[in-house]
């Protein structure tokens, strides 16, 4: 699985589904990095075959539009799009 881990402070379990070509995904990733918290991310457009399909199905479960960035917080909340305020609130930062 092509999930990358970024080290940092623990602010809960964060999984970011992103596209390598998407600027809004880049901004979201940058925000998480700037906040200095740990998170996992995957570039769905760089996956292949079954792994790609399974990951898309996972994104669709949280966000039926399957749009990016999709950030899943603590396996319970999903934030779609680069929404700085919402992300900070969800992480209590």
């Amino acid at each position: 699985m092509a999930i990358e881990h970024v080290a940092g402070k623990n602010a809960g379990k964060l999984m970011l589904y992103a596209l390598s070509t998407c600027i809004w995904c880049r901004k979201t990733k940058q925000l998480l990095t700037d906040l200095g918290i740990e998170y996992d991310y995957v570039f769905v457009d760089l996956l292949q075959g079954q792994e790609k399909e399974q990951t898309i199905a996972m994104v669709e479960k949280w966000n039926p539009d399957s749009s990016f960035p999709t950030l899943v917080v603590n396996d319970s909340k999903c934030i779609v799009g680069f929404k700085e305020k919402e992300i900070r609130e969800a992480l209590k930062l």
Partner: protein, 169 residues
């Protein structure tokens, strides 16, 4: 995998300028944040190399052109999003108000129907037995209409290719 997909700065600049020129000629506006716009153009060029067409950098392409026609830039959803939110989904194209700094941009919801609905969507049925001397073709990108035997090779307004036209009447 992303490392070998890097696009040379002069290539990005060339396509950025072409995109800007085409946009302005058609009455559209490119995002005034030039570095932001160049970043999007870079994504378009990566997709061009990867899939053979410039699909939206902020959407996941299927890799099958016939399934992705609606998200080839400029996408079918641009005009509606520019009117409603001041920018298209990726924010490469913006409204006059955004260009003039009178409106701030925020995250734009996805207007493209989800995969399951796209598969079901059939071509819209033509309304009524309208008698016209010629069929009317509509550009799905900008709404340009023309009455002729077939759609033009390139939309004279927004430069979308022939395959983005639909029979309107």
């Amino acid at each position: 995998m992303s490392a070998d997909e890097t696009i040379a700065p002069d290539e990005i600049e060339k396509d950025y300028l072409r995109c800007k020129k085409d946009a302005e000629a058609g009455g559209y506006h490119i995002n005034p944040d030039a570095d932001f716009a160049r970043g999007l153009v870079s994504g378009l060029l990566v997709n061009q190399a990867r899939y053979g067409y410039q699909s939206c950098p902020c959407r996941l392409a299927s890799g099958k052109k016939e399934e992705d026609l609606d998200i080839i830039c400029p996408c079918d959803y641009r005009d509606q999003d520019v009117v409603e939110y001041g920018a298209c989904y990726c924010a490469l194209y913006v409204s006059q108000n955004v260009l003039d700094g009178k409106q701030e941009l925020s995250a734009i919801p996805e207007r493209r129907p989800p995969r399951s609905l796209r598969r079901k969507a059939a071509a819209p049925a033509l309304a009524g037995p309208l008698q016209l001397p010629m069929p009317v073709w509509r550009c799905k990108v900008c709404g340009y209409l023309c009455a002729r035997d077939g759609p033009p090779e390139i939309c004279p307004i927004c430069k979308a290719k022939k395959e983005r036209f639909e029979r309107f009447l």
